[in-house]
Subunit: 458 residues, 2 copies
């Protein structure tokens, strides 16, 4: 299925999206209109702190978001709903009918590693528009960044062996499973089991067989033979009753089928995968089936994969479900979408522990000897050493060609970025020292000036 480009232009969740917003965005919107506060604003989306289990995040989710922003509008039935909610005037509802997102978006390309406090994207738009989209922007970028940032750890742990996404059944709903499969692909996962995600994004779709197939047959032997005759290059699941007996059954099948036996792999899904993979390998090799691969699944995460491979387990590929699908060790990020400028003036808040860097910003990334050496968050108009990460991807509410949409190029971009990460950041343990990110003198000075101005006013 790889290479099939999506024929559906909208993902299946894009109806009535203008209403996918927190109520307070709409009450604030009406207030902004009433007060004539429609000047240009800048909002920054960033993660305040990296959790200790993540040495970096992989930015993801931009493409679906930009599509949603382009399509954003209140349909007549949405407006009827708002009218019935109570606090909204007829004048406001009428204005909403014409509301479109007309702003600019600057963003880090998907698949780029980012760190704490670095803007993943900045929205430059009239205040009401930039405010309205807060919930959607956060929900979509958070989801896909959480999942891509987990998946890259699985891919790194598997060290070149394919990792397949089997997560759809335990991921958080349809949208997560579908967009997650795309995020996993960018992060280096080899394929997904989810057919709809594959169809929408042109991803490789993979699958083996379930225990129920074995169980429904009168014997494991009968099930293996029927499946292998229909799908000669299949993967047979061997642990329904006893894993090694299952492997022996595959060997007997090879004897029966002779040259017609083209089974590609056996799958182990329970028990001590290290020991079982070694015993399975020995049985297969002794039977002259050295080319039959061993595929493992069942509650795996990056630490389990790392431990299996470190222990020399002869496993050729991994299926991973829940731990990657919900990013079970870090299911959320301290992500924020904050007003940084309004009407040309820098803005921040002073709530304890939640600092904001005011104004439009740029991240300058320095590469030295092929490895990332440090980032500086500066003011947008600064010209500092290093590669600027934020790219203008949307102007006046329309996607620009500068926005990379091609999924294979995004995957390649991610792989290239990851190859430039210092070794310690590519490990599973917390990097020591952490990656250096600093704030430019000009930005620090601007932050001080804005803070002083607030202090003077109050």
């Amino acid at each position: 299925m790889s290479g099939n480009r999506p024929q559906m232009t909208l993902t299946p969740c894009d109806r009535h999206l203008a209403l996918f917003t927190d109520l307070y965005e709409l009450t604030m919107l009406q207030a902004f209109y009433e007060e004539g506060m429609e000047a240009q604003s800048v909002f920054s989306l960033f993660v305040r702190r990296l959790p200790p289990q993540r040495n970096f995040l992989l930015a993801c989710g931009l493409d679906s978001l930009l599509g949603q922003l382009e399509a954003l509008r209140f349909e007549p039935e949405d407006l009827d709903c708002l009218a019935s909610l109570g606090p909204f005037s007829r004048r406001f509802i009428e204005r909403l009918a014409d509301l479109r997102f007309t702003g600019d978006v600057y963003a880090v390309p998907e698949g780029t590693p980012v760190f704490a406090n670095e803007p993943i994207l900045e929205v430059v738009a009239p205040l009401p528009e930039a405010q309205l989209i807060e919930t959607l922007v956060m929900n979509q970028i958070n989801l896909q960044t959480v999942l891509a940032s987990k998946a890259v750890r699985l891919a790194m742990a598997a060290n070149g062996r394919p990792v397949l996404d089997f997560g759809a059944r335990r991921m958080h709903g349809l949208d997560a499973a579908i967009k997650g499969a795309r995020a996993f692909h960018i992060a280096g996962v080899a394929g997904t089991s989810d057919v709809l995600a594959g169809r929408l994004y042109g991803l490789p779709v993979r699958g083996t067989m379930a225990h129920s197939y074995i169980q429904a047959h009168e014997s494991e032997a009968a099930a293996f033979e029927a499946f292998a005759r229909l799908y000669p290059e299949t993967v047979l699941l061997v642990d329904t009753y006893d894993t090694l007996d299952g492997v022996r059954e595959v060997i007997r099948l090879a004897d029966r089928l002779g040259d017609d036996f083209r089974v590609r792999a056996v799958r182990l899904d329970s028990g001590d995968l290290g020991a079982l993979s070694r015993e399975a390998r020995a049985l297969l090799d002794a039977a002259g089936l050295g080319r039959v691969e061993i595929f493992a699944s069942g509650g795996l995460d990056e630490r389990a994969i790392d431990a299996l491979l470190a222990g020399g387990a002869p496993i050729d590929g991994f299926g991973v479900g829940t731990s990657m699908g919900v990013s079970s060790d870090v299911p959320d990020l301290d992500i924020a979408y904050k007003l940084a400028e309004y009407d040309g003036k820098g803005r921040l808040k002073l709530s304890s522990g939640k600092p904001i860097l005011p104004g439009r910003k740029q991240v300058f990334r320095t590469v030295r000897d092929g490895f990332l050496a440090g980032d500086v968050i500066g003011r947008f108009e600064e010209d500092l050493p290093g590669e600027p990460l934020l790219v203008k991807v949307m102007a006046h509410g329309r996607r620009l060609d500068s926005h990379e949409r091609d999924l294979e190029r995004l995957r390649d971009h991610a792989a290239a970025c990851i190859a430039t990460l210092p070794e310690s950041l590519r490990g599973l343990e917390p990097a020591e020292p952490p990656y250096p990110v600093s704030v430019s003198d000009a930005l620090a000075e601007h932050q001080r000036a804005v803070r002083d101005a607030i202090a003077r006013r109050s």
Copy 2:
């Protein structure tokens, strides 16, 4: 908005749902057809183990699932997609065009506490149909049960004070946020900030104001006054610059507005919420504003709420986002959908640590002196003491009237069930001893017989 029934018949994610399936379901389906294996099957959905942070689960997600099963069909463009995937015959694709879900579903009503190994639902259907829906059944019930089971802990910790769902921005995608808001409502949460969820399910929609609103104004005083004039009974967010200064600003606003001051509450969103709430209460009371309530938010979970209230914090309501929205301590459950019977014969698997109870089952729940005393998982046709939990909710692919859809009645049902839980199960700590769930003699005997039959065959 409460009371508005949804006017959209489909949730926004219900297009192309037949393709929301793991590839192996379809390869198995074709094999079942080829082999003529279309007899009646029974699949059980259950959670193998409760995580230590959950004394019970709150079953949820049935209604959306049944709607999806009723609507399930392959559209022509879905079939084109499958044809391009490779391993499927034209004959198979043609059969899929006519495939509908025609089975029966027995399920525990939404809002009912369930425990490990108890079927949340059982599907009785021709094997191919029951197999095809595995991914969807698990995804939808898992999502909503995970979220309802977390939310009920928040509601219990708040001990009668309202808990509001502010989670949409950090929940895992659109489907999770929307269906989650409904799950939260069943679990006792007082309202959601998400307008679309409110519209779809008729939930109370609530909201206050964001920091950006304060920041965009030249001063906190100006922001408070403008918002309170437009929305007199609003909640004012006081921590943008300094929480107690913010409270003093609210008091000055009350002085200025006199009888027009009808602000309902202040919201604290950062810092030491216990200390700040006490100081804020003292300031408000001293100013004669005893009727202005204190609402708290900002990284709260059930333990934080419990600690705040145990410490006597004068907080009248809570806004909870991330911890509830992704069930951050338990974002996944060990949920399984397993073949338990095919063609009249019990089925199980012997994979280590993953037992299956064969055949159709019923859960018999005993109440003694108003409290749950224990459950017995029996064979479906047994007549054991206690209330049978599983109800037939779908016959021949159509929902039955026995399936409770009314959200207020489901919420009442959940509250009534929770009131019957033994005290230790309603606490946040692991209940000791855990709730007693046993397997009936007849079911244990059936399991032995099926296991023996498998052993004889192999």
